[in-house]
Symmetry: C2
Subunit: 377 residues, 2 copies
């Protein structure tokens, strides 16, 4: 498969009190259309990735709503799969292009989270988990803490390993003007930050964020842009306790294998990746499950500096969910935007030299949904 990312758009990520969800969606959308060689009139469908706006604000029907504001008469869809909503929206947009039904489509990932109370948002986010997890009083920090603890016990992963993910991603974020937290942190600061859910501290967790990301996808091969050459989705049980292992996300393996096969590349061909570091342990497991390192060695691998901007395999150059921010429905699209920018050599201070093949990994819940995309020049 070969689908072109013809344009990208991204709002500032952060606590954007002065903007509505629609302001953000339209800003990213118009920027992506302007960046492409197309006009609004060329766009035949809009795929919106959004998880919880209906719950927080009462507004569903975002596909038609955003299409209508943009004056796109074609189709509008809202795709939801928890924090993988954005990646799923990209995947389904690609299907409509491969089908030949549409030629140029817009994908918008958007979330407006800071207008609601923290308890409302926490409760809404638990919609990504299972009923038994909600009844047990589990939250996502607690679920990932269970995975982190198991990983520590099984593989000797340490809190310093976890902290190294955060330190790296904050360094990357310090180079990204769109990042929610564009500043560096020290290992000491990460290790001494307040405990959220043992062993995870504040700096092991991604924040509550407002933001939008957009891309114009086309089945046309001409014009500037980069190609999506692999797009795969895999699922697993929503309930973490129903899995065979707490220390791997099987759906990441399945989706990655499929996407790499589609693209005809090996994991060793990847030069830059954006992965789903909702918690530091998630990035450690992603390294292992994607095959960048062996199972159990993700902590050491990241701690070694291999995934730093100037390392051999830069990961989360945007700052990741940790430092760039995590507007849940937007994240999967933001990953596509970041890798596209890297492959187009438009990443400024955080440009990865020789980036010509990139990967994104977007996770819903604790791994019930995983979407992997491969991008190439």
């Amino acid at each position: 498969m070969k689908i072109k990312v013809a344009g990208t758009g991204l709002t500032k990520f952060g606590e954007l009190w002065d903007k509505t969800l629609f302001d953000l969606a339209i800003e990213a959308a118009m920027e992506s259309i302007k960046d492409s060689r197309y006009t609004v009139n060329d766009i035949e469908a809009v795929f919106v990735g959004n998880m919880i706006y209906g719950r927080l604000s009462g507004q569903n029907h975002l596909g038609a709503a955003i299409a209508s504001i943009l004056k796109i008469k074609g189709a509008g869809f809202r795709i939801e799969g928890a924090c993988a909503s954005g990646g799923l929206a990209v995947h389904l947009a690609i299907q409509s292009l491969l089908a030949g039904t549409y030629k140029n489509v817009l994908v918008v990932g958007v979330e407006k989270m800071t207008d609601a109370s923290i308890s409302e948002v926490t409760s809404a986010l638990m919609g990504a988990g299972s009923e038994s997890e909600r009844k047990a009083g589990l939250t996502f920090p607690a679920l990932y803490a269970l995975m982190a603890k198991a990983h520590m016990i099984k593989f000797g992963t340490t809190r310093k390993h976890l902290a190294s993910v955060s330190v790296k991603n904050h360094f990357h974020g310090s180079l990204n003007p769109k990042a929610q937290f564009p500043y560096e942190i020290t290992e000491e600061k990460a290790l001494n930050s307040p405990l959220i859910s043992s062993p995870l501290t504040l700096f092991d967790t991604s924040p509550i964020t407002d933001g939008a990301a957009a891309c114009v996808l086309t089945s046309s091969n001409s014009g500037p842009g980069v190609f999506i050459t692999g797009s795969a989705v895999a699922t697993d049980t929503v309930d973490l306790s129903a899995r065979l292992s707490l220390t791997e996300i099987a759906a990441t393996k399945a989706a990655a294998q499929k996407a790499l096969k589609q693209a005809g590349v090996e994991i060793t061909d990847i030069k830059v990746a954006e992965v789903h570091d909702c918690f530091t342990i998630a990035e450690i497991m992603a390294m292992e499950d994607l095959g960048f390192c062996k199972k159990g060695e993700g902590g050491k691998y990241i701690h070694s500096g291999a995934t730093n901007l100037r390392g051999k395999m830069p990961v989360n150059t945007s700052g990741g969910l940790k430092a760039c921010g995590h507007p849940v429905g937007a994240t999967g699209v933001k990953q596509i935007v970041e890798i596209t920018e890297q492959l187009r050599k438009r990443s400024g201070k955080r440009q990865v030299d020789g980036a010509n093949v990139g990967l994104t990994q977007n996770v819903g819940g604790t791994g019930a949904t995983v979407v992997v995309h491969i991008l190439q020049n």
Copy 2:
């Protein structure tokens, strides 16, 4: 295009206090897989149409959740576009098949509405409308009442015309064991029922319903089943007041033209149709906007008996949303199930003689999203 509906499944529609959303989804899904020549292992992806379960119960992530319960390891998606969620799920499932990414997929439309209070459900349903409509205190009965009133003033449509939709659909529902209200009503009963929002009375409105519908779609041409030969989506403003006309749904016209063109048939070729009669006025406008009769004549057309089971153009043989029920996310899929059954001559007492080309029209909100499908033997 030519995508086969290889199997269908449908639960009883109604107030199903003893069943959860998952019970309903799995019952319909397993029935549709059993009805097809495939097994669960052949299904590569699940497309779930659902509007408000996240809001009412806290559970999002239904794509993965339903895939996981069915032990489908492939992809899971939840598609939302208000009351058109089911139709949109069918449309996107078709795209994935046309793309060649998947060969056999499952579409499940499901909604569990009766476990929440009426005020919670009414509020959640207004997620299909606009913020200004919500702020104005408008509800869907009120919005459709505005359209009905405008239609009466402009075209002389009468309450008897409206009532004839309800009387017909209840007659059809009386022949459908799955219907929520499987009994006939008289014109007198409809006309004298309690006022909901003038001029619409209780029998002009569709009910709150639990239920699920499912179909197995395949890109294979072999085996039993019928073909979907047209699938189109159009959008309009979410806000009714932003439209040029209160008496037509422009997106119905646009989607129908596109779907008919894809299928290579004319509206006069259609032998049976399921349309979105969330309110009686909606079915009247659907007749006009789809082109079954001239604009303004929908009321007379239905009142004449033309759309009765034994009329020249039977519409809503399932009983429609009015009598069969309206579990919002399920409705668009149920329409596909009903037309498939008609084309396969499995509709028993409500079988339409010579049904070989059918149409479905699924509406989100007051017409911000419309999905039209054409099915053929």
